[in-house]
């Protein structure tokens, strides 16, 4: 650790979580403090893995500087964005399309030079006041036509921004009309920014749309014994490439990823897989649920962040398929990959052990990345999600108890039924029993809190004010969050790692990713550059009465 930070130890209150919580709340107006008190929780894991309730997926209070974005961002930016061959047209003023243009580092690798790849493009109807007054359907229709004429895509998706709902444009009607006219798939999302309380609403809307309009359009059954979908892996910094490599080596057939290095065609065919793997529970569990209901595909929660988590996840998959050869290949792959991981881990641990990290980000990463920090001996002093729900914190066991509020109720829950022709049972009740006995539960997720030590602070939708306070109190060696938080944290002399975009690093998934992450954290928490925060005259401001010439 740098010299400067070494001299600034955590405040004594850091050892007393209640005192910390009090300090976080004391400047807030009463109503704010009351609300935030329910979102700042001192963790306590019970004997049955029970954890305290945390309020989450609720509105951010106006005026609070939040990490959160909007529904459009969750729908267009997160879920649909990483698919290369759908022309995504933002219907609205220019800004929303502009800001979500290439800013998320979702990597994609077309299958060849003629394969469609629209990810480098930003398409917008650039709505003007004329459309606000007279309606934007005509311009939208024309925009779709122009996109089709120039690009000849397989599919066009329309994303509504705030004013669209208000002025009453029926984007779905336009989509249907143009679908018919052009003979390609055209579908729309009513993902106006004001819906819901965060990006999370957008994820749900995206899940609904993609399930309704795309999944199941192509019944071709691929070759492959072990067919899987990977859900909630967005290929930031190439994570999905690394996972794809592992799957291939293990003999697993990846039908589709929702959505990283993904293609429209993969989605249409995804219902032919035999298992859904969920990485980011928050953003994608809806599709998994609906696919199970409609097509009979079970899902399991896996995690490829962290070397042991990766090994564990691969073993889970092998266990699910109950195939000895697969299990053997999985073990081979793990045995091949782990020595390099162990070597770097051991080396890096000597320099990182005992250092303190905080993570406030997303809907799954704040949980998954704790694993990597622990692997190099670092301590998580506090963590929280930006837009997750209670089940992501406390585990799916609390699902039945979650009160659906007005904001969530606005987001449509699709009514899905088993497909009369295509529903297929993948796994027998007996097998489910067998698996449960080995500890593999389908459709399950324990959430973040169960894995965090008692007394750590779990904070939902953390504010800028709380972030600053926490840094002042804990003097962490590193903080993980997003770009908006980055430089305020670094200005306090604390290295900050983005876990949305990884800054410019990655991949961090799976084994090679773990190595990359260990090295990255080692670089950050042990860098020379943090030693120079004070100039010599700030360290030693005194002036000799008369300068003594040597």
């Amino acid at each position: 650790m740098s010299e400067v930070l070494d001299t600034i130890s955590p405040k004594p209150s850091a050892l007393q979580p209640m005192a910390v919580k009090k300090e976080l709340l004391e400047r807030y107006p009463t109503k704010v403090a009351r609300k935030r008190a329910r979102q700042i929780i001192i963790n306590e894991v019970g004997p049955d893995c029970s954890v305290p309730e945390i309020q989450s997926n609720v509105r951010t209070i106006p005026g609070i500087i939040t990490q959160r974005g909007c529904t459009y961002a969750g729908c267009k930016g997160v879920v649909l964005g990483p698919t290369r061959d759908i022309v995504n047209i933002t219907h609205g003023p220019i800004g929303c399309g502009f800001y979500s243009w290439l800013t998320r580092r979702n990597q994609t690798k077309p299958n060849g030079p003629t394969d469609h790849n629209f990810m480098t493009y930003c398409f917008s109807t650039d709505m003007q006041d004329e459309q606000i007054i007279f309606g934007g359907e005509k311009k939208l229709r024309q925009a779709i036509q122009e996109a089709y004429d120039i690009l000849k895509p397989k599919a066009i998706a329309i994303f509504s921004t705030c004013p669209v709902g208000l002025i009453g444009d029926d984007v779905h009607a336009v989509a249907r009309e143009m679908k018919e006219k052009l003979g390609i798939n055209v579908f729309a999302f009513s993902c106006e920014g004001y819906k819901g309380v965060s990006q999370s609403a957008g994820h749900h809307i995206a899940n609904n749309g993609i399930f309704t309009h795309v999944v199941g359009l192509d019944d071709t059954v691929s070759e492959g014994k072990f067919k899987i979908n990977l859900l909630g892996e967005y290929n930031i910094g190439g994570d999905a490439f690394e996972i794809e490599r592992l799957f291939k080596d293990c003999g697993l057939t990846l039908i589709s990823t929702f959505s990283g290095n993904s293609s429209y065609d993969y989605f249409t065919n995804s219902h032919t897989a035999d298992l859904n793997l969920i990485m980011c529970h928050r953003s994608i569990n809806y599709v998994a649920e609906m696919m199970e209901t409609k097509f009979g595909i079970p899902w399991i929660k896996i995690n490829f962040i962290g070397a042991s988590a990766t090994a564990k996840s691969l073993r889970k998959i092998a266990a699910y398929f109950e195939d000895a050869e697969l299990a053997a290949r999985v073990e081979e792959v793990i045995a091949r990959e782990m020595p390099a991981v162990e070597e770097v881990r051991a080396e890096v641990k000597t320099r990182c052990a005992g250092k303190r990290a905080m993570l406030f980000v997303g809907g799954s990463r704040a949980h998954h990345y704790q694993e990597l920090f622990r692997e190099i001996g670092m301590e998580i002093v506090s963590a929280g999600y930006e837009f997750a729900h209670r089940d992501d914190y406390e585990g799916r066991r609390v699902l039945p108890n979650i009160k659906v509020d007005a904001d969530s109720r606005n987001i449509e829950e699709l009514h899905v039924e088993p497909d009369p022709n295509r529903y297929k049972v993948r796994i027998s009740p007996e097998q489910i029993d067998r698996l449960e006995k080995t500890g593999l539960r389908l459709k399950d997720y324990d959430g973040m809190m169960a894995e965090m030590p008692n007394g750590t602070l779990v904070i939902d939708d953390i504010s800028q004010f709380e972030t600053e306070k926490l840094i002042e109190i804990f003097r962490p060696d590193i903080v993980c969050a997003g770009i908006k938080e980055k430089y305020a944290i670094q200005k306090s002399g604390t290295p900050m790692k983005q876990l949305h975009s990884y800054d410019t690093g990655g991949p961090y998934a799976a084994f090679k990713g773990a190595i990359n992450f260990y090295r990255e954290i080692d670089r950050m928490v042990n860098s020379k550059v943090w030693k120079y925060l004070k100039a010599p005259w700030q360290e030693h401001p005194e002036l000799a009465a008369t300068y003594v010439w040597e």
């Binding site: 400047r27 106006p62 005026g63 929303c96 502009f98 480098t120 311009k139 004013p163 007005a406 925060l533």
Partner: protein, 458 residues
């Protein structure tokens, strides 16, 4: 190819914008508001606007960018955002203690029709605005104009809310620097100060968005024009507004409100525009131009003459904001370069005719479009390749596909750092621009030269 679907054939588009060369009003308003000392910009709309603007500004400056949001929900969209804004004002003053909250609207609140003036009045009535604190606002509907318009509107807001006249005029000049970088604003102040002129510059983002690393984070950095100075702008002898689009509105408003006359000039990018800026300052203030500035001018001119062989006849494609492009085009033409493809996304009638006027002696057809986009620019380039691209980071996709060097200029620059610290305005800025252009052209020459004509001396 990164932009593999861009065809050579230009088909007219009336509805679809592809790869925009502009963004929306609120981000410009947020940027302008950051140029007031101890001011927290506030986005009256959905959370996403604020998040997007903060993210984009942060990536461009690699600096903290703080702003509040009214966090609209579906309910606010139906019933209006008054409650949200009142609550926000209350919370912001309590928690963050700014001196000013500068509210800008969004397409959402504009479509709803929220009356911000009235909401602010209500906040004041309800004592939600502490004594000595201010809430100001600008209407910045995203579906009109562009980020430049938003900047202009927020600067006008500063005049609307603060400028005051008591009939006396002080020997002082207001400068509205235009939508330029913090380093440019610093440079403008330095030039005026070297001329011995007393000025108030607003907005002023220097030392806000190019601040030091000190190990201590302060939500309100040292920089920014103070409220006291904003009030005093009404008593200045005149206003020099740089950039017609970004600064003209505020300057004219100040004239109307406080009878402070104004000169509206081009942004001082390049030799001639800087000459006009300095000469105007000189005449208004009745001062002599100091040697230091004459020397800077001469150094810029020295590079223009000494390196003319590398500029002459080199073609360039430009994208950016109108105020910048006008001066930049003039600058390129002044060194005998040929800017032949020029787009801005920001609408405006005078842009195309002004560019046509500036380039009328360029011995090559010139494509220019005010409501263009980078897709169109790329198509033009495919039909008539150029030696150099000048524009923001999104141009790098064109640069790589077409194998043309890119000089990063304008907004946003997301992948390099120089724009944060080094001005492109004034003579020194001109030197930097020419250095960048020469580096780009000469690096390319070095790369492509056959071995026998690889040059040691250039």
């Amino acid at each position: 190819m990164l932009l593999r679907h861009t065809p050579d054939t230009v088909a007219e588009r009336t509805a679809l914008t592809i790869n925009p060369a502009k963004t929306c009003q609120p981000i410009g308003a947020m940027y302008a508001a950051l140029g007031i000392n101890r001011c927290l910009p506030h986005s009256h709309g959905s959370q996403g606007c604020c998040a997007y603007h903060r993210s984009t500004l942060t990536r461009h400056y690699k600096e903290p960018v703080m702003a509040g949001t009214s966090s609209f929900t579906e309910g606010s969209s139906v019933f209006g955002g008054q409650a949200n804004l009142l609550q926000a004002i209350n919370n912001i003053f309590a928690i963050y203690e700014p001196e000013v909250i500068a509210v800008h609207t969004t397409c959402l609140s504009e479509t709803i029709g929220d009356d911000i003036t009235q909401i602010i009045a209500k906040a004041r009535e309800e004592n939600k605005i502490p004594k000595g604190k201010y809430v100001i606002h600008a209407n910045t509907p995203s579906y009109v104009g562009s980020h430049v318009t938003g900047f202009a509107n927020m600067v006008k807001g500063m005049v609307d809310y603060f400028a005051a006249a008591d009939g006396r005029k002080e020997n002082r000049i207001n400068i509205i620097p235009g939508y330029v970088e913090p380093a440019d604003m610093e440079e403008i102040k330095r030039i005026a100060s070297d001329m011995g002129i007393s000025t108030i510059m607003f907005p002023d983002t220097s030392n806000v968005l190019n601040g030091p690393q000190t190990g201590r984070y302060a939500m309100f950095p040292a920089g920014g024009v103070t409220v006291a100075d904003l009030i005093r702008t009404g008593g200045s002898m005149g206003t020099v507004a740089l950039g017609r689009l970004a600064s003209g509105l505020a300057a004219r408003t100040l004239d109307a409100k406080c009878k402070v006359p104004c000169e509206i000039l081009d942004l001082p990018i390049g030799l001639m525009a800087t000459d006009r800026f300095i000469d105007t300052l000189r005449q208004i203030a009745g001062v002599s131009v100091p040697d230091s500035l004459n020397i800077e001018r001469g150094r810029l001119l020295d590079v223009m003459t000494d390196m003319h062989q590398y500029f002459f006849g080199r073609t360039a494609a430009l994208a950016g904001d109108p105020d910048q492009l006008i001066s930049l085009t003039e600058f390129l033409v002044s060194v005998d370069m040929w800017p032949i493809h020029i787009v801005t996304g920001t609408p405006g009638k005078k842009f195309e005719s002004r560019i046509k006027e500036i380039t009328k002696e360029v011995p090559h057809p010139v494509n220019v479009k005010a409501t263009g986009d980078l897709f169109l620019l790329h198509q033009w380039i495919k039909n008539e390749p150029v030696d150099l691209l000048i524009g923001n980071t999104y141009m790098k996709y064109i640069a790589r596909d077409e194998d043309i060097p890119l000089v990063r200029f304008g907004f946003p620059i997301l992948d390099r750092i120089g724009h944060i610290y080094f001005p492109t305005i004034g003579y020194r800025g001109g030197l930097r621009l020419l250095e960048k252009i020469l580096d780009a052209l000469l690096d390319r020459q070095d790369r492509d030269a056959p071995e026998e004509s690889f040059e040691l001396v250039m």
